[in-house]
């Protein structure tokens, strides 16, 4: 399909949301956040600032975390979108979601879906060796040195997600727990013959 409005102000876009293919006919100006919330009934992604500043609208697009409030739906034709609902459901929470519950990593819960999506992607970024602003300069300049997931690394990497309830300490703990559990599971899987 030629993804082009050819002068019209509405457009049809195909995206896969939490595993379900969707075809949307929408105003060209519509952001992914509004498409999710107002047209697809996917309400975990929250509108905080609508300007890329708070992280409440964070979702995964093709596996990478982005802010959906600054993503134009039209530009995402053919993409795969995962929101907090796609990571786990109340009956079947993901390990990370369970860790947020266990550690009391939320108060009002408004920022939580964005926090969880961001944390999910952030752990993958660390696993892939991506450095951060707090990574030691010598390690930054040497891609062969593995990144240690310190609390400082978690805080820096999660700094795009603001929490007005101030649940940060417990969010860091939840992410630290999840990283440790995943590392242990990967270790024991390696030991198996």
């Amino acid at each position: 399909m030629d993804h082009d409005t050819g002068g019209a102000s509405t457009l049809s876009t195909k995206i896969v949301v939490n595993g379900t293919p969707q075809e949307l006919t929408h105003d060209v100006r519509m952001t992914l956040l509004d498409a999710l919330r107002d047209h697809l009934g996917v309400t975990s992604a929250k509108k905080g600032c609508d300007h890329g500043q708070c992280g409440a609208c964070t979702v995964l697009v093709d596996g990478r975390r982005v802010v959906s409030c600054l993503s134009l739906t039209a530009s995402l034709d053919g993409s795969e979108v995962v929101t907090a609902e796609g990571l786990g459901t109340p009956d079947d929470l993901s390990d990370l979601q369970q860790a947020f519950v266990d550690r009391d990593g939320l108060q009002c819960g408004y920022c939580t879906p964005g926090q969880v999506c961001s944390a999910q992607a952030m752990l993958a970024e660390v696993a892939s060796g991506m450095p951060s602003h707090v990574t030691d300069p010598s390690a930054l300049a040497d891609p062969d040195v593995a990144v240690e997931l310190s609390d400082a690394e978690i805080r820096e990497r999660m700094s795009g997600n603001l929490c007005r309830c101030g649940a940060y300490v417990n969010i860091v703990a939840a992410i630290r727990d999840t990283a440790a559990q995943r590392a242990a599971a990967a270790g024991s899987a390696e030991e198996r013959p």
Partner: protein, 332 residues
């Protein structure tokens, strides 16, 4: 947001053709890359476009090393990918470090190299449609000169505009030998990075020397150089996820205690990413000592014209520049 049409460009030539078509029709066109600045501005009404030409799917995302050691980075490569790229980390860690100091993980996944160069000022009045601003609306006046001046420029400001360039990446690039490759209606043009951005003069609405239809296709960072001994330091009001008050990118080459070569880029100082040439000239050939670094930045800052609210930036630079050069001297 004013209505616009959306068009997905299939090649550089196609993008240029669409822009030319818009111009012929008397319509305004804008290239959409990561959208993190443009979508925000369209939504705020700071910018209007009749036609949005999406270039984000173009095949301009590779990071490669040319035969002479130059690192060529596609203009549509995402900031996160370039910051993590082994070639950039090994050869130009200051470029990785500067990008990692900017925005958030989510935004770096969206923001592109070209878009980062062309992001617009974060002057609070520029973003606020209810106030006069010469950059947003030429001839309307500047609210920042008499207003809230904490973030204003120290060097090169004019009576028309006192805003600073907000990019972290650009501060690192200002300290290196970088060429910006652009495609326009007349073919390819290569611009020295130092000539891309403008001081405000009486045309603060023009941020750069690019023609309206020109598309940035790549950045080329020349090497091999001394950028493996380089650092980026960003001072800001909270530990992360804020724009700089000032920032310093520096690279240093010391032989037998003498400075062979030195590069200093400064952020938060001027309307454009600022290269501290006076300080560099004062240092080259001299001793690699803390006293020399302090004297050199003092020389550079003689031309600073601070207002009542932003003199703190001078103090920040007087401390940060020698500190960064000291760290590089120790590492050498």
């Amino acid at each position: 947001m004013k209505p616009f049409t959306y068009e997905r460009a299939t090649s550089v030539a196609d993008a240029l053709r669409r822009t030319a078509g818009a111009t012929q029709d008397g319509a305004s066109a804008a290239y959409l890359a990561g959208g993190t600045n443009l979508v925000d501005h369209l939504r705020l009404g700071i910018r209007e476009a009749d036609r949005l030409i999406d270039v984000s799917h173009l095949d301009l995302t590779e990071v490669t090393e040319l035969d002479d050691g130059t690192v060529r980075i596609g203009a549509l490569a995402r900031n996160a990918d370039v910051a993590a790229h082994p070639l950039v980390r090994r050869r130009f860690p200051v470029v990785s470090a500067a990008m990692l100091a900017g925005a958030s993980g989510q935004l770096r996944n969206m923001a592109t190299m070209g878009g980062n160069l062309l992001q617009r000022t974060r002057c609070v009045y520029f973003q606020d449609l209810s106030t006069p601003c010469n950059k947003r609306e030429p001839g309307s006046g500047c609210s920042a000169i008499e207003g809230f001046g904490t973030y204003n420029a120290l060097i090169g400001a004019s009576d028309a505009c006192v805003a600073v360039h907000p990019s972290d990446l650009c501060v690192a690039l200002a300290a290196l030998d970088v060429t910006v490759v652009v495609e326009g209606p007349l073919g390819e043009r290569r611009i020295d990075f130092g000539d891309l951005h403008r001081l405000p003069g009486d045309r603060p609405d023009q941020d750069t020397t690019l023609e309206r239809s020109e598309l940035i296709t790549a950045l080329e960072i020349a090497g091999p150089g001394f950028a493996d001994r380089s650092r980026y330091r960003k001072l800001r009001e909270r530990a992360s996820y804020a724009f700089a008050t000032v920032s310093v990118a520096a690279a240093l080459d010391v032989r037998d205690g003498q400075i062979d070569d030195v590069r200093i880029g400064l952020g938060g100082v001027a309307h454009k990413p600022y290269r501290a040439r006076r300080a560099e000239d004062a240092l080259r050939g001299g001793p690699a000592t803390h006293e020399a670094y302090a004297a050199a930045i003092a020389t550079e800052l003689e031309q600073a014209r601070p207002g009542p609210d932003n003199a703190y930036k001078i103090l920040q630079l007087q401390r940060a520049v020698p500190a960064v050069l000291d760290a590089l001297t120790e590492a050498a």
